[in-house]
């Protein structure tokens, strides 16, 4: 299992060809308490940079972008009833989408935890 981070403040926990995707603690703090999370349907094939989810605070809607090419496999079923879970535990129980990587080589362009910490410092 390897953890990657993006400049758009997402994290990916990669195991083989699948990844769990969420937003970072830093992003969750910036957004404030979330009131709604909507994800693309399972089976949706996307390229890096396309929207895979929308998270909404009281104030605004923000897109979550696919960090790499792939396919949406599943979403976190608990977020429809309790979207604030993303705010309270963004890098754990508040994960958003399960994703199949179609081009794992693209992961090389992402950051590790140390690089991300430096990025947001």
């Amino acid at each position: 299992m390897t953890l990657y981070f993006t400049k758009e403040h997402e994290w990916l926990r990669v195991e083989g060809e699948t990844a769990i995707v969420g937003i970072t603690k830093h992003a969750a703090e910036e957004l404030g308490e979330l009131v709604f999370v909507e994800t693309r349907d399972a089976g949706t094939v996307v390229q890096a940079g396309e929207s895979i989810a929308v998270v909404e605070s009281v104030k605004a809607a923000s897109d979550i972008y696919a960090p790499v090419d792939g396919e949406v496999l599943d979403n976190n079923p608990q977020l429809s009833d309790d979207p604030a879970r993303v705010s309270s535990d963004p890098e754990g129980e508040g994960w958003i989408v399960k994703f199949r990587l179609s081009n794992p080589d693209q992961l090389e362009s992402l950051m590790d935890a140390d690089a991300y910490a430096a990025f947001i410092a």
């Binding site: 404030g32 605070s57 009281v58 104030k59 605004a60």
Partner: protein, 377 residues
Amino acid sequence: MSADTLLHTPLFTLHEEAGGKMVPFAGYAMPLNYADGIMAEHRHVREHAGLFDVSHMGQVRLRGRSGDGEAAAHALERLVPADIVALKTGRQRYTQFTNEKGGILDDLMVARMGDSLLLVVNAACKDADIAHLQDELADCLVEVLEDRALLALQGPEAEDALAALAPAVRDMKFMDVRDVDVDGALCTISRSGYTGEDGFEISLPAMDASRVARKLLEQPAVKLIGLGARDSLRLEAGMCLYGSDIDETTTPVEAALEWSIQKSRRRGGAREGGFPGAVVILAQLEEGVSRRRVGLLPEGRAPVRGGAPLYADVEFATPLGKVTSGAFGPTVEAPVAMAYVATDYAAPQTPIVAELRGRAVPATVHVLPFVPARFKR
């Protein structure tokens, strides 16, 4: 505008100390929210009392050149559709500056003091409003109160919190205005606000603002509240945001603000018309309008925000209008919105459809406000 050219209100240091997330708003650095976040701040106001810095708003004193308030009231009626002449000393009223087409240049509060009128106008419009007053009311002195701050204390515990410093405010009723000493500061206080709750707006000398704010924050019920919660509170309260829900293209009648146009200014009234766009607005009052501002409750949890198109049908064949403000209502615990729709669809309970990210979201026209007003009448 870059951060270093933003204006600061007299409470800027207090906001920073309190952990305010400062954002640019109408040329000022203003707190969007503090550490608790918008949801918690919103609920705190509905349950206890919240202190807002609204010093960015424009405060203007209007006097007749002869020095009396009566002349100023007659003069201001040339620019607004409300009855200002009948406004008694110590009372305040909501109105709008209109243009020749009946559109709204800004909305404002007007208070009648003994020898003058006090106007509170929107921050983003204040320069234009002041120029408008100076251009159109040559018979008046327009004094911009640059050295005064404005605080709003809102919520069911606002009266107790303010009365601890100024007991006289307990006797005030909704829309009363009085000069009151608060901790040695000469304040002009109105019992009004922008949240739907009981509360006060406190105009005071800039040099006293931080001290009085800190005194109010010593009360256990009182917390600082940012602009984010101010917006969700006013939306639940059904109150318009200038630039979103009303602007130069919407008339007071389309905006469902005809309650703010008294009989004396309508057809057959003692001082009928005489304000910009009166021909349009007075006709609309009698003949109706083709679109109206309404409340909207979208189904589900997804907020439907400003700009979302509205239709009569899920095929998006019959456009009805669009959403002008939308958010998640923390007290309603559901998405809430305001919109303009074709008048045939403006009755409460009418089912319509909003387009959200290409999908059809069913929504129901809802009477405003979403949360019952708790003014002390």
